[in-house]
Structures are given as C-alpha cells and as structure tokens.
Amino acid sequence: MGKIYADVTSALEGLTFDGMTVMSGGFGLCGIPENLIAALRDSGVKGLTVISNNAGVDGFGLGQLLGTRQIAKMISSYVGENKEFERQYLAGELELEFNPQGTLAERIRAGGAGIPAFFTATGVGTLVAEGKEVRNFNGRDYVMETGLVADLSIVKAWKADERGNLVFRKTARNFNPMMATAGKVTVVEVEEIVPVGSLDPDHIHTPGVYVDRLVQTVSEKRIEQRTVRQRAAGAAAGSEV
C-alpha cells in the first residue's frame, strides 16, 4: 500500500487522458505543484480543463501548459499575469470561466465534501449570476453555485508522512487542501517525506485519506512580486522592487 513514488513522471503514470479535468493548487506562483505541472506537460495530455485560481506566468507554472496548448479551458478567478494566455484567449483558442475567488474555493470544498450545490450572496446582481438560480433567504438574495470535482488534483504541500498526512507552510496552503479533497485521484508533491509519527496529529492539515500518490521534489519557488522595506525605515509598507 505504498503511496510514495520515485519521481513526478511515475507519480502521474496511468492517470492522464485527453479531455480530462485537472485541479492545480496554488495562488499566483505560491504553493503551486510546479514539478507535477511540468510532468503533466511532458505527458503530452491534451484538451485539459484546468481548475486553478490563476494561470501561472509565461513559461512557468500553468504557463507551461499554455505554451504547448494543452489547455482547452480554464476555471479561474484571476489570470492577469500571462501574455500567452491573453493571446490564446483573444484568439478564441482558449475557453475561460471566471469564478469569484471565494466561490471557486467553496465550489472545490463542496465538491470534495459531497455537496452538489450551495447558495452564496457573492455575485448576485452581476454577470456571475446570469443563468443561475437566485433565491431569497431571510430577505437577501443568494445565487446557487455547484460543487466542483476533478479527474485529477495536483497539490503542493510542505511535508508529508509516509501515509500521506500533509502539512502546508504559510500562505502556500491556499487552494491546496480543498483540491486534495476534490480529485478522484490526488497526487501531491512535497519538499520532505518524514516517517509516520513525525507529525503531530493535531497539526495535520490534510489527512492521508485524501492522498493517493506522493512524491518528494525540489521546488524553484519563484517570487512574483518581490517587495521589501529598507532596513533603516520603520514604516509598515515598503517599495516594490
């Protein structure tokens, strides 16, 4: 019953097929499964629907799958940092479904939790609610949104034990825990695999039941907006570099 795979290629073996839906964790370039994305590119799988808050940048993260035109559709909340995405979208080569970020997060959580639909006030009276059921509860209008599941979720965590219990680090957690629950198969890349018993059971963010395959990788972890403050200055905000 080993969950541990030697490399990202074998970790995806037998899981990919053209036209499949893939959830990919991360916010911007923070906490993305960058090595599994590269392996997905190398697998040659085509016609992907990708559910991810963002679309990476040119040549990194999901941008790698855009460059090779492996993505047919994105479900995202913000895709601002990707010129190839822009080009393909404007040329009509790429389908795009925008979801409000919180609605996207909750749709994924619902999908993993066996909830086919829920109501939210987010987006009522906007384009987002068009064609969807709107219902009044206690005097306020809410729009019905549906749960999302994927054929495959690729997730980035910080540490895992050999049974797949996961711990995330700082804001690299973001969409990863919900996506781990909403994939029919979930493959996780981590910076370190530790022996069972090394993680405090009260500190585990994602229980091993959600993790089908596990692979230890080395991440580049690019920074998108490097902002710093001067050592001399005491101000709360700083300058963009």
Binding site: Q101, E106, T171, A172, R231
Partner: protein, 218 residues
C-alpha cells in the same frame, strides 16, 4: 486642493477602529496600513489565507511561501495565523471581517460598485473582489473622483459590469467623502477635501446627492 494618494490613504485610515479586522484592496487601500493610529489594534486579513499581515520583509528575508493577495512578499507578526482559501472566504462571506477598503472604477448612488472589467478590454478576472463586497460588514471605496477622461466615477448608475449591488457604505475621493444611505436613499456629501468647494464637487459629480447639514452651513 484634491487629496494626494497619501492623503487619501490617511483619510481612509480614519475608518479604522480599535479591534477591527480589515481587508485592504490593492493600490491606495494598501497604503492605509501605513496610517494605522499608534496604540490601535487593527488586524489585516489577506484573502489568500492569512490573518495578521505584517510589513514587507527586509531585503534578503523574502519568503516565496509568504505573500499577500497582491502576490507581494510580506512578513508574519506574532498574532498571525494561516488558513486555506476556503476558510479565508468563509471568514469573508460569513461577515467576520469588519471593514474592507477597496478601489473602484465606478460607484453608483445606490451603493453599486464596478471594479473588475471593462467590456472590450482584456478581462483579468474579479479575484476576490465580489466576495469582499458581498461579505464584509462595511465596504469603503477609496478612489479618484474622476477617471482619466475627466468623467465622474460617482454616478447615478454604473455603466460598467458590476462587482456587487448596493454594497458600498462610504466613498472617499480626492475631492470629497460621501455616505451611501441605507435602503437606496442615495448619497450624502459629508466632507470636502481641504480647499475643495461645494460647487467644485457639484460640477464634477454625476450622481445626485444631498449635502450634510453641517457642511451646508460651512
């Protein structure tokens, strides 16, 4: 004299109260963090999954696993906590954040806000803006009074696709401050920037509004 960006941020900081949990949008709202009054406890939420956001790191201390919703490197402070995006927006949607200070392209006199797309231009997405305006207890908009073509951004009705309907409570511009009265009762001008006249605001505002009694007298 219209307020500068820094003055707008400083004015917006007056919306803060001790003990508030606050989400600040990108742009001028981010600068509000520099004007939190000394001795006041204000906790900043970042919708990518953090409560208790600290300042930018010193050079060399940047951590790629620690960014804000604008994807900028930040730091943690002693009271910080991290959580998933689902938990973060449960916090926002559930009304647990006291105040959101956001920028806007347009605000209407009924509290409608448009700040995410311009038809015909490439749409980058709404990110968390729709969740914030729908979920946070009080939404304050900080923006220039007019767009780059000199047209009023305080309108009878928004012309751009909406981010939310009837959600804005207060509008702070470089010229003036308006309250959005409850139940569609319209705008009230409550404050002028230093050196700005009632006539100037009237000339530059498309929306209808009443003038607060004290201000009328002044």
């Amino acid at each position: 004299m219209p307020r500068t960006r820094e003055q707008l941020a400083e004015r917006a900081a007056q919306e803060l109260q001790d003990g508030f949990y606050v989400n600040l949008g990108i742009g001028i709202p981010t600068l509000v963090a520099n004007y939190i009054p000394a001795g006041m406890t204000v906790t900043l939420q970042s919708e990518n999954g953090m409560l208790g956001m600290g300042p930018f790191p010193y050079e060399g201390d940047e951590d790629p696993d620690l960014i804000n919703a604008g994807k900028q490197t930040i730091t943690e402070i002693p009271e910080s906590s991290y959580f998933s995006s689902a938990d973060s927006f449960a916090m926002i949607r559930g009304g647990h954040i006291n105040l959101s200070i956001l920028g806007a392209m347009e605000v209407a006199q009924n509290g409608d806000i448009a700040n995410w797309m311009i038809p015909g231009k490439l749409v980058k997405g709404m990110g968390g803006a729709m969740d914030l305006v729908a979920g946070v207890k009080r939404v304050v908009v900080v923006m220039e009074h007019a767009n780059k073509h000199g047209q009023s951004k305080v309108l009878k009705e928004c012309s751009l696709p909406l981010t939310g309907t009837g959600v804005v409570s207060r509008i702070i511009t470089d010229l003036a401050t308006f309250d959005v009265k409850p139940d569609g009762a319209g705008l009230e001008l409550i404050e002028l920037a230093d050196g700005v006249t009632l006539d100037e605001v009237a000339a530059k505002t498309e929306a209808a509004y009443t003038v607060a009694p004290g201000l009328q007298a002044a």
